[in-house]
Amino acid sequence: MLIAEVGFAEATWILIVKALVIFAAVFAVAPVLTVVERKILGRFQARYGPNRVGPFGLLQPAADALKLIGKEQFEPRGALRLLYAAGPALVVFSGIATLAILPWGDVKNGVGFYGIDVSIGVLYFFAFGGLSFYGLLLGGWASGSKYSFLGAMRSAAQLISYEISMALALFGAILMAGTLSLTEIVHAQDDVWFVVPQFLGFLIFMVAGFAEANRAPFDLPEADAELVAGYQTEYGGMRWGSFMLAEYLEMFVISGIAATFFLGGWKGPGPGFLDPIWMLAKILGLMFLFFWVRATLPRVRYDQLMSFGWKVLLPLATLNALVTAVLVTVL
């Protein structure tokens, strides 16, 4: 069995610098993703997508950000000021905090190419990911609008319904690797990527991931015919932008976890310095899946969403865990 140095840590300044580098890299990629998504959606619908601002519309995110910043700070009359601001802040906070867990490569020259590599591993993701629940619930509750409140309750119930399937879907891969640490899970895939033996787990994780990130076909806040804009109804300007940013961060992290657990993480042909590139390529590939699904599948109804999570995904994930447990011991 592979025993990586659990508890290995570099000098303090390296730890701080590498966290800043990862953060900067992700925030350089995230705005591009927004325009890429709209381009891709446009192509799916036989149109161009944004192509006016800058070459190929690449400056569109900057224009969007400027527009959002230029809005006035708005609060509805019945809002609770502090909590109304805390809602989007918490969601973004949880998105950024979970970025720390993604592994971008092995330990090279005494520097680990990851934010943190700790024994609790993926539990860190669930611990901080759970905080976004409070963000959207607070936002909807404090807005002082019934659409926001109803949307927040629904989105919150949706979040918790799919979180368990997500955790159980990973359990199969954890059984095979015998660790929670994300770098060790990548090492455990030396022979074969876990997407092959754990294909069901991969599927369940991605489907639950769509629901966790509030993406199509589970993007109920976008279902304007039902709840206007869900918990985001009363938000505008950069506070609304925070919810959008958090959505992209969440998609990014979920794709990263899926790439780590099922697609061999940073593994790929070529020299070692390509590792982060491979990881990024896999994440972007999985994010393309998010966009593709959004362009393809119709939105589900809320009761369908809830029963699908509890009656299909959860039993499937449990069975997957049971069968994997037996196979791991017998084989």
Binding site: S119, I120, L123, F128, F133, F149, A156, I160
Partner: protein, 174 residues
């Protein structure tokens, strides 16, 4: 560094706990409780109990408080008190709190202060990691581990029974 982290965690835990009982609105109280629980998790982490810290956040802040939030979204903001005060509560409460304080003081003064001079226990590598917790669950605490699943089963049955009764009272929900 560790001292700083300890005081941040301790202040968060104490402040959160005080806010839980000081705030009038149950919704705010629940939020204060979340702050308290997350701070406790930070303190666990400082004691090298990594898995316990994660479990604390995932289970308490992430799941139990979710139920509290849902319940207080229902009662929150209502002006009238939602429970009947127990007769003599104002007199009994400080008395019991005082008794508890004395008891804890005896316990603390009797034992814990002796280790103030020492360097603390030797923490071996892997202490508090999921694997070591797993071994403990399968050796020393096997019965507790299996009893936990029975307990969860009973809880599920209880929840369904209670909900069914509620449903008969109010057949049409939101």
């Amino acid at each position: 560094m560790e001292a700083l982290a300890f005081f941040v965690g301790a202040i968060g835990a104490l402040g959160g706990a005080i806010a839980v009982i000081a705030l009038r609105n149950p919704f705010y109280s629940v939020l204060a409780l979340v702050v308290h629980l997350v701070s406790l998790a930070a303190l666990f982490l400082l004691l090298n109990a990594e898995f316990l810290a994660a479990a604390q956040i995932v289970v308490y802040a992430g799941a139990v408080m979710v139920l509290y939030v849902f319940v207080s979204a229902y009662v929150g903001g209502s002006e009238e008190p939602i429970w009947e005060p127990i007769p003599g509560q104002r007199f009994l409460a400080p008395l019991l709190a005082g008794a508890l304080f004395v008891e804890i003081s005896i316990a603390v003064l009797g034992t814990a202060l002796t280790t103030l001079e020492g360097d603390g226990p030797d923490v071996r590598l892997g202490f508090g990691s999921p694997a070591s917790i797993g071994e403990l669950l399968l050796e020393r605490y096997l019965i507790a581990f299996e009893a936990a699943s029975l307990l969860l089963l009973v809880a599920a049955v209880g929840a369904v029974v209670l909900a069914a009764r509620k449903r008969r009272e109010a057949p049409h929900g939101a």
